[in-house]
Amino acid sequence: MVPAAELPLTSAPYSAAPAPVLVRERLRACMDAHYDALWRALRRFGVPSAHVEDAAQQVFIVLANHLDQVKEGSERAYLYGTAVRVASDLRKRMARSREIASAAPMEDHPAPGLDAEHLLDVQRARKALDGVLAEMPMELRTVFVLYEFEELTMAEIAASLEIPPGTVASRLRRARAQFTAAVEALRVGSGRRP
């Protein structure tokens, strides 16, 4: 176990010193409310499953370091905006690291209650989804994931990414068109007809 005090943080480490109760409660509430969704978003942003738990933890460490600067009620937007950048940073570093790119195999953690046969379908569909998303430019993929899967409003996405609302709409429109075209290509490739 590596407690927070030993995390290799640099100039602005998260302090493992006991935080005020209210701060701890706020952080804990954020984790309860947003951890699972953030985990999924990181996966859809392209973080390999072998690293997504660490990346999610990283996002919350950033939040913890700057919680006093995040307005009450704005935590979700802050977390997603940070997740985009953590994922981006991770992808860039992975691209430079063949060793890491060939590290642990992808592994999924399906929701319980699905039988093995069904699981294959789900995994196949998710693999196809991630393939489709991987073909999208990152700025489109980010907006698509936040809007279609995480169900942020366009205003929330604009706030999270600090881009104009019109840009969010434009990117979503383009991302949807790419998604539809990619699904059609999948269908053609698999010989299935609607």
Partner: protein
Amino acid sequence: MSDPRRLKQEIRDPMARALLASAELDGPAPGARERAKLALALDAPAVGAPAVRSVRSLVSLGLIGAAVIAGSIALAPRGHAADPAELAGDAPVEVSDPLPELPPALDAPTSTTAPPDIAAPTDVHPRTSRAPVHATGARGASLLEQMALVEAARAALAARDPGRALGILDDLERRFPQGAFGEEATVLRIEAWQAAGEGDRAHALARRFLEEHPTSAYARRVRSEMR
């Protein structure tokens, strides 16, 4: 301008729906959230608790930059400065026009009233706030089951086995009376009845379908069955 409906509420293509639903079934490994809390010293470790993962592994592997950890870059979600796509130059484009209409295959139904024997399409995930992953997972699983049955019926019909297709469609409607693929199932039933020589039943159902769903993406296909 109000936000458009989510794609999973609009889109009718089974494959696209399956892909979108599959994301809902994804989730962290059991205990991941608790490990994160431990790492942030929010919770005391329970006896026998699994070892805490930490960003140490990412740092030591060079996957997470110290600057990110320190928050000097990711201090606030100023968004895209670190995004390669942004660095590649994606100038914000202001648009005042609404999102375009979805292509015909994705058109939203204008009527939600279904005839008695036609299951109305329902919003796939009509939630307005995040539900626990297991709950959304169950919905997604149900959706994939429905999709599999629709695909099986379609395959049976393509194999010139309308009897089998009708049996599958009966099963689909029995198990999912308010299923997400009501229109697809009805269209397949019309075609199956037609193929089975039950033209009168096929025509009656086709007429009812067109009355209820005049702008359906399948309307033209159904009309062609009535000729």
